[in-house]
Each structure stands twice: as structure tokens, then as C-alpha cells.
């Protein structure tokens, strides 16, 4: 087949321009494709949620495993999504925050707790003060809002919101929106958690300098003592009914951002990030999720590392409590799945942008934010990827 002869100089110019654009595009494609570290043997499917173009921020699966609550950035709505039928169930105007909210179902699934997120934490060494909202998970009705609080959780019976602000732990009746009680935790910091059995309240706080200075274990290393006093925190467990102090975990943690109990109340997960003065030059954004055996009051030497650049990572335990997943970052956003018993990493998914994968209208997930939810089979999970969701079957 012979090529057509083009005599029109304008057409020639257009053709040259088109060729140039194509060469540039494919050249870039090849470079990008070559530059991306490809995982092999990964089974996943990317899909869109009912044509939604908004960038997703966080996801959580309802306790009945039917509904995926999805929040999005830039004050966009919050969605309820039937992940099995892949149908949008509902849309709520809530969590009106630019970087979107973290989202969590209450134990019964009747309520949703939203926590304001930020793209960047400009004062990582200071206590977090953000906004919280609690919604009815069916209607999206706003029940209560907390402005500039360190942390908030919903009680297992859905009756109370428990908040941390300054040194005060407060109990808010969700029917009346009235504060019904409170107590003080000296030098409280960022995080509070209530155990699903309703017995324990875990609260993070600064170390007690006087106590440490008089402790022979620590007074012989001034360098370390200063670090413990200035940059480390501790976790104390209280009786959730009487507010009586039960015990302080015999371990020092970096700046605690989040505390979560396992569903059987046996383990407490503590996400902490070192003070900027303690961060390693080699990996300045390393954080850790440490595990505490609550029943035995024992801080375990099971620690899951994560690298987070912009905000707090997502981490979850599978429903059978055999797998622990955490988001991380290493050139691309990633999800790591560990065997919870042994601490061995089993699977890794790079939520990397592959230019050859890109669908029309897809927005990139380049800001290191990723959230996920284990599916009921505990062999697959749904992961956010920009304005798409990824169904990853990690166990074949």
C-alpha cells in the first residue's frame, strides 16, 4: 500500500505536528512505563463508583459487610456503596473538609464517625486539633459536631460520643447532645479509644518527668531521659465506667496519633510517629503501629512499620483477626498485609499509577493517600486509588 503524497504545506505542517505530539506522547509513555516498578502476579480490578469523579479519601465497610462508606476530598459528598452489586445506595453532604474525612462505622453500624484530615500536617510535633462529626448511617443526619478536638470515639452501645480536648475526656449523650460527664488526664495528647466490650478507655499522654527522673532505670542516661521526657508518650488504660486508672502500659511511644482496639478487646493498636527531631535521616517519615496485649497488660514486640508522607495511614485487622493491613509509601502508595500471628509480611500492593492502565477521567492518586477495607472472605480487599476503587484478590 503506497502512502498518500501530501502536497499541501499546511496539511504537511499539521501532520508533522500530529506526528510530533504522538512521538512525544509515546516516548513519554515508554519512559513512564519503563520507570514504573511493576509488580508481577498481582490480581486486581479497578472500577468506578457510579461515574463519580471525586477523589476518594477514606473507606470503611459496615459491620454487616454490605455497605462501603466512602468519603471524598474537596468537600465532596460522602457515599454509601453496595460493593457487591456495585451500586450507589446513598449520598450525604457531610464532612465538609478540603482534604476529606477519615470515616468509621460505629460497632452497631448505625452511626458514622468522621474525622477531619489534612493534606499536610504543618505542626507534626504539636497535639492534633481537628473537627469531628457523627452522622446517622442510614439518613446521613448530622447528630453532633466537635470543633478542634484531639480525638473522638463512639461508645459500643451508640449512646455516647467520648471526646478528648486538652486534658479533658468528656462523655456526650448522643440523644441530647449534652455533656454528661468528664474527667481529666494530665498531659493528655492525641488519641483515645474505647474497647468494644465497653470496659476500657485507652488514652495517650506525655510522660511524667518527675516519675522518670526518680526511676533508677532511666536516670543514668541523660540523653535518653531527655528524649523520654521531651519526645515520648505513654498510654494509660482507665475503667470506662468509673474512670479509675487501671494501668499505664510499660512502654514509651512516639507521638501517638491513633488508638484502636481489636474487636475482641484483647489488643490495642497504637499508631505513633517520631517527633521530627527523632526521625531518621534515611527515612524521615517512618511511623509504627505497635500492639499491646490488653488482657496481660503487655506491650508486645510486634510492631508494623509504615512510611507516611501526608497524613495518618489506614490500618485494619481482618475480621478473622489473622491478617493485619497497613498503608505505606515507597515511591508509590502501597498496602502491606501481614500475618498477624507471626508479623511476617505476606502481600504487598503498589497503588502505582500505570499510564497504560489509565482510564478516561481517572484521577491519579499521587498524594500518598490510600484507604482500604478487608472484604468478608478475608482473601481480598477494596482499596482507594484516586477516584477509582481497586478490588485486590491477594490470596489466590
Amino acid at each position: 500500500m503506497s502512502s498518500p503524497v501530501i502536497t499541501d504545506p499546511i496539511k504537511t505542517l499539521h501532520l508533522l505536528k500530529k506526528s510530533f505530539v504522538l512521538i512525544i506522547f509515546f516516548g513519554f509513555t515508554l519512559i513512564t512505563y519503563h520507570g514504573v516498578s511493576q509488580q508481577i502476579d498481582v490480581e486486581y480490578e479497578k472500577f468506578q463508583v457510579d461515574g463519580i469523579q471525586n477523589h476518594f479519601s477514606w473507606i470503611d465497610l459496615s459491620p454487616d459487610n454490605q455497605t462501603l462508606a466512602i468519603s471524598s476530598t474537596q468537600s465532596y459528598p460522602l457515599y454509601l456503596f453496595d460493593w457487591q452489586k456495585r451500586e450507589l445506595i446513598n449520598t450525604f453532604e457531610a464532612g465538609d473538609w478540603f482534604a476529606g474525612p477519615r470515616i468509621k462505622y460505629s460497632l452497631s453500624g448505625k452511626l458514622l464517625l468522621l474525622q477531619q484530615l489534612y493534606y499536610l500536617d504543618f505542626a507534626p510535633n504539636k497535639d492534633r486539633e481537628v473537627n469531628f462529626e457523627i452522622l446517622d448511617a442510614q439518613t446521613g443526619k448530622k447528630i453532633i459536631t466537635f470543633q478542634n478536638y484531639h480525638d473522638a470515639v463512639i461508645s459500643p452501645d451508640d449512646k455516647y460520643a467520648i471526646t478528648l480536648s486538652g486534658n479533658e475526656v468528656s462523655f456526650w449523650n448522643l440523644n441530647t447532645q449534652e455533656k454528661e460527664g468528664s474527667f481529666e488526664v494530665p498531659e493528655a495528647t492525641n488519641a483515645i479509644a474505647i474497647s468494644p466490650d465497653g470496659k476500657y478507655l485507652a488514652i495517650s499522654h506525655k510522660t511524667d518527668a518527675r516519675e522518670l527522673k526518680s526511676d533508677p532505670r532511666y536516670k543514668n542516661n541523660k540523653k535518653n531521659l531527655d528524649i523520654l521526657i521531651d519526645y515520648k508518650q505513654q498510654i494509660t488504660l482507665f475503667d470506662a465506667k468509673t474512670f479509675e486508672k487501671l494501668f499505664t502500659v510499660d512502654e514509651f511511644y512516639d507521638i501517638v496519633y491513633r488508638l484502636i482496639f481489636s474487636k475482641d478487646s484483647q489488643y490495642l493498636f497504637c499508631h505513633s510517629v517520631p517527633n521530627t527531631k527523632l526521625q531518621k535521616k534515611s527515612n524521615p517519615k517512618e511511623g509504627y503501629v505497635s500492639v499491646i496485649d490488653v488482657a496481660n497488660k503487655n506491650p508486645l514486640r510486634m510492631i508494623f512499620p509504615t512510611i507516611t508522607y501526608y497524613f495518618e495511614p489506614d490500618f485494619k485487622l481482618s475480621s478473622d483477626m489473622k491478617l493485619f493491613a497497613i498503608s505505606s509509601f515507597n515511591k508509590y502508595t502501597e498496602v502491606h498485609i501481614y500475618d498477624f500471628e507471626t508479623g511476617q509480611m505476606l502481600y504487598r500492593f503498589q497503588v502505582s499509577f500505570r499510564i497504560i492502565d489509565k482510564e478516561k477521567g481517572e484521577r491519579l492518586s499521587l498524594d500518598a493517600r490510600v484507604s482500604f477495607a478487608f472484604l468478608p472472605d478475608n482473601k481480598s480487599m477494596i482499596i482507594t486509588s484516586g477516584n477509582r476503587l481497586v478490588l485486590w484478590k491477594f490470596e489466590k
Binding site: I40, N221, K223, K280, E286, M345
Partner: protein, 547 residues
């Protein structure tokens, strides 16, 4: 008269007492060609080689008789003169290189028979630096400008190639599941070959060259200048890849995920290089990380003035504690954990390696040659400190070693340390001295290094070797030689070598030695069983007994 007689007898007996036996000659063979390249095979193998740029001779280790000899052009017509020769003993292969601009010839010859296995001009810019033998597959990984090629050693057949791994295959771990984890590096002088190089650590499927995962690492994964040992370690344990380079970097073996790193950037600048040194390196100035169960102890050399010990959780890299600052330390060559104490040796003997240009004049003609030297230099300030493993607090600090240290060693959970002029036994728990023994009675000059030998303490002096018992530090034996350095060691045999290339073989059981006065520029190789020394001089190969 009696007095004069006594003096004469005493002097004579003293002379006789220092008269040392020569190493018995097993055989001596003169080659038909100069010896520019040499290689000593093990006694089990039974043969070695000596070669010039044009000819090569393989000889029998037992008799010195020629096994085969040939001009290179007889083996490979395209090779009249070689520029480099690399032996790969494990595969019985000799690599020959003839470098011509853009038309490099490479040939593989069977050591046993001298027959050509294969030759090619397909691969350019290949040298000892970018050719790695992988014995597990009997194959070579050749790092070229654009790709890594994996070829079968004895046929030259290309098994696979990949362009996703730049630079030379450095240290690697070949796993039983057929996968290999390797780091890349750029040898000195090959920087121009690997443009766009980046530090890579990768896991290969060795059957097809697929890279399962790749990641980056921090630091320069180099080799030592003379001994060619890698200056880092790579291990796979418990499904984790541990790269010990400037601290420690940890990856997940299955997925390649970057788990954590506790690394620092530190370049020792503590010892000046010798005059006329072409290449020079200082090694071991910073102690390697120590792993005890789930604890990782890393010496963090933040900068020249600030050093700390840091204890991390091995699995996650979480910092558990930081020790007080270790003040005024230029080098911390040793860190060991004994019970609940971390013992730090500050200053002392640090390994140096150098390639030095030397010359000698005969009949008004000056000859130049290269000396490959491994030696130890003492770095000050010196000291010994111990820290508690629980919280990093200082347990004790010994003032005793301010003036000097060679090194410290552990024998049966007891700590022994040498100041250069005295030997000490110390209680690791308290830092108390259990004894102090001056070493002047050994008559071998100041100590340069001590090391454990059969529950005894062997000491290398400036002029010989001495053995002490551990119990009370009593001198058991000593042997005085000339000013020399340790050149080689096997079991009870230690080879000491002078600057003039003379050697002495010491028996550590008796401290007696046999000596051999070699010609300038001679190369001595201790056999792998320590029984013999092969000396290569000009055209002559000699085999000598060490006992």
C-alpha cells in the same frame, strides 16, 4: 681473659639463638616466560598457573612439573597478547581478555586441558570489575553498558538478559527457591560505563531473569581495594533482606517492600594515605551493627563529632533508645554485646588497604612495581566504654586505654584488650581489670593486633608473634622476626611479610618460624592448608614448606 671468653661465648650463643632456619625448598621451577600473572590452586586441586602477557603455564603443585603450557595465540588465534586474565577456580575456567578499542576479545579456556571453550567479541568493556561468577548456576553475570547478561560458564550460551538492572552485581544471596537477591554497584573506574546508574537492590527469578521486585538502597556498596571483599553484608533471614551498609537497611523478601532503614552517611577521613598510593581505603572504622534476638544495635555516626549507639526493634526499625553521646571518637572499630552490656572499643587498630607504587634500582636501571598492601593503623583517641542493653545508659568507662589500643576480643565470655604495650583481662560487667600484663617480655615490639587462638591469646607484634594464656596472661611463647606485617594465616600458620617481601611462617603452637628471603617484587601465596608457600619471582616459582 675469662671475662673476654665469657663475652665471646655469650655473644656467639646469642647469635646462634637468633639464627633462624630457612623454609625447606620442596621444588623450584624456572618457566620459559616471565611471570606477570599467577594463581595458586588449592592442594586438593593440585595445580596452579603462571603467565606472561603472551604465554601461560599450568604446573603440578606436587612436583612443579608443567601440566600444560601454550602461547595464547595457539589457544585463541585472535589473542596474541592478553591485557587481563581472570581465573574462576570454581568452574575451572580462565577468562582471557584482549582489549582493542571497540573490538574487545574475550575467551574462556579450560584450566585442566588448556582447550578453548568459547570466545566472543560480542561483549565490550568487560573486566574483572563487571564479571561475576555465580557458582550456583555455573554461570557468569556480565554487566554491560545497556544490560545485564547471564551466560553459561562453559558454553558462553546466553541464558537471559535484562535492562532493568544497571551496574555490576555486587553481593548476592542465592536462595534455594531459585531466586536471587542482589545489590548493584559501580566499581571505581567504571562510572562512565553505567550512565544513569542508581542504587538498586532486586530479586531475580534466575531461570528467566525476571525482576520480581526492585528497590533502592542508601550508600556506596563498594569492594575493598586489595582484598576485594565487599564492605557490606547482605543476608536473608526470616523473610527479611538485611543490607548492612552504613548501618542497616531492611526489605521484605517476598514483596520487596521497604520495611525500614537505620543508615547513616559516614566517610572515614581519619588516616592519611601512604606516599605514592594509587588507591587507598580505610575499613572497619565504624563497628558493624549487632543483632541479638529481636534487638538491633547500630552505631550512629551522625558526624565526626557526634556518635551514639541506638537500639532498634529488629522487625520494625522502631528506635527503642539512644545512648549518651560517645565523645571525641574518630573511629569506633568494635562493638560487641556480652550479657546485658554493649562494649565499645573507641579508637585502635583500623584496617587500611593500599596500592602503592614502589621502585628499586639495579645497575642504574630503575624498576617500578605495585605493592598491594593490607595493614593496620592505630587511630586515636582511644578508650573502652560499656553501656547497658536495657536503657543505653553508660555502665562503665575505662580510663586505662587513653594512650592506645590495638583491639579487644572475647574468649569464653571474657573480655581481653591490648593497649599496645600491655595485655588486660576485664570484667565486662564492671569494667574492672582482672589483670594487666606488660608485653615487653615477649621481645616482639609493641603489639599491633591480638586475636583468639585455641583459647589462648595470639599477639602480633611489630617484629613477631607471641602467645599468652588467658588465665593469668602468662607468656607461653614468642618468636622475634624482622619488622613485618601479617600477610596471611591458616590454622596455626601465620605468614609475616616485610616491606622487602621477605616472609616468615610462624607456628602459633610454638612461636617458632621458618623464613625465606625473597627478591624484591616477589609474590608469596600461602597454600590453603597452610603447609606450603608458593613464591613467584621473575621467571621462577618456588614451593616452600612452612613447617
Amino acid at each position: 681473659m675469662k671475662k673476654q671468653m665469657f663475652t665471646l661465648i655469650a655473644t656467639t650463643s646469642l647469635l646462634f639463638s637468633y639464627a633462624q632456619e630457612e623454609m625447606p625448598l620442596v621444588w623450584e621451577q624456572k618457566m620459559e616466560h616471565k611471570i606477570e600473572y599467577n594463581g595458586t590452586g588449592t592442594e586438593e586441586r593440585g595445580y596452579s598457573y603462571a603467565a606472561s602477557a603472551k604465554e601461560i603455564t599450568f604446573f603440578d603443585n606436587n612436583t612443579g612439573q608443567t601440566k600444560w603450557t601454550a602461547a595464547f595465540k595457539e589457544i585463541v588465534p585472535k589473542l596474541s597478547k592478553i591485557d587481563e586474565l581472570i581465573p574462576f577456580w570454581e568452574s575451572n575456567i580462565l577468562f582471557l581478555f584482549d582489549r582493542k578499542m571497540g573490538k574487545d576479545q574475550m575467551a574462556c579456556v579450560d584450566m585442566e586441558s588448556g582447550k578453548l571453550l568459547w570466545s566472543t567479541d560480542k561483549y565490550q568493556d568487560v573486566s574483572d570489575d563487571n564479571l561475576v561468577y555465580i557458582p550456583e548456576d555455573d554461570a557468569f553475570a556480565i554487566s554491560l553498558k545497556t544490560m545485564l547478561v547471564y551466560i553459561k560458564a562453559r558454553t558462553g550460551e546466553e541464558k537471559w538478559s535484562t535492562s532493568k538492572f544497571k551496574g555490576v552485581v555486587g553481593k548476592y544471596v542465592y536462595m534455594s527457591d531459585g531466586y536471587m537477591v542482589a545489590v548493584n554497584f559501580v566499581p571505581g573506574g567504571l562510572g562512565a560505563l553505567f550512565t544513569g546508574f542508581k542504587n538498586q537492590i532486586a530479586k531475580f527469578n534466575m531461570s528467566n531473569g525476571d525482576i520480581v521486585w526492585e528497590n533502592t538502597y542508601i550508600g556506596r556498596a563498594e569492594r575493598k581495594i586489595v582484598s576485594r571483599d565487599f564492605i557490606y553484608d547482605l543476608d536473608v533471614e526470616n523473610n527479611k533482606v538485611f543490607l548492612r551498609l552504613n548501618g542497616i537497611q531492611v526489605y521484605d523478601y517476598n514483596t520487596g517492600a521497604n520495611l525500614y532503614s537505620a543508615a547513616f552517611d559516614f566517610t572515614p577521613d581519619i588516616i592519611g594515605k601512604p606516599i605514592n598510593a594509587k588507591k587507598f581505603g580505610v575499613y572497619g572504622a565504624v563497628a558493624d551493627p549487632v543483632v541479638i534476638d529481636q534487638d538491633l544495635y547500630v552505631l550512629d555516626m551522625m558526624n565526626k563529632r557526634t556518635q551514639y549507639i541506638k537500639k532498634y526493634d529488629l522487625n520494625s526499625g522502631k528506635l527503642l533508645w539512644t545512648s549518651p553521646e560517645i565523645k571525641e571518637a574518630k573511629a569506633i572499630p568494635h562493638m560487641m554485646v556480652e550479657g546485658d552490656k554493649i562494649i565499645l572499643q573507641i579508637g585502635g587498630a583500623v584496617e587500611c588497604q593500599a596500592v602503592i607504587k614502589k621502585e628499586y634500582t639495579v645497575n642504574n636501571v630503575t624498576y617500578y612495581y605495585w605493592v598491594y598492601k593490607i595493614y593496620y593503623k592505630n587511630v586515636k583517641p582511644c578508650g573502652v566504654q560499656a553501656f547497658n542493653t536495657k536503657d543505653g545508659s553508660l555502665a562503665w568507662d575505662s580510663e586505662r586505654f587513653r594512650k592506645g589500643i590495638t583491639n579487644g576480643i572475647m574468649i569464653d565470655n571474657q573480655y581481653y584488650i591490648c593497649s599496645g604495650t600491655a595485655l588486660y583481662k576485664m570484667d565486662a560487667n564492671t569494667g574492672n581489670e582482672m589483670y594487666e600484663v606488660p608485653i615487653s617480655n615477649a621481645g616482639v615490639g609493641n603489639a599491633t593486633l591480638i586475636f583468639p587462638y585455641q583459647n589462648k591469646i595470639a599477639m602480633f607484634g611489630e617484629k613477631g608473634v607471641a602467645i599468652y594464656n588467658t588465665e593469668k596472661g602468662e607468656l607461653m611463647c614468642s618468636g622475634k622476626y624482622k619488622t613485618s606485617d601479617v600477610a596471611d594465616m591458616f590454622d596455626n600458620i601465620v605468614i609475616m611479610e616485610t616491606d622487602n617481601d621477605d616472609i616468615a611462617a610462624f607456628d602459633l603452637n610454638t612461636c617458632k618460624y621458618l623464613q625465606f628471603n625473597a627478591k624484591k617484587g616477589a609474590i608469596s601465596d600461602l597454600s590453603t592448608d597452610g603447609q606450603y608457600v608458593y613464591v613467584y619471582e621473575n621467571k621462577v616459582v618456588s614451593k616452600l614448606k612452612t613447617k
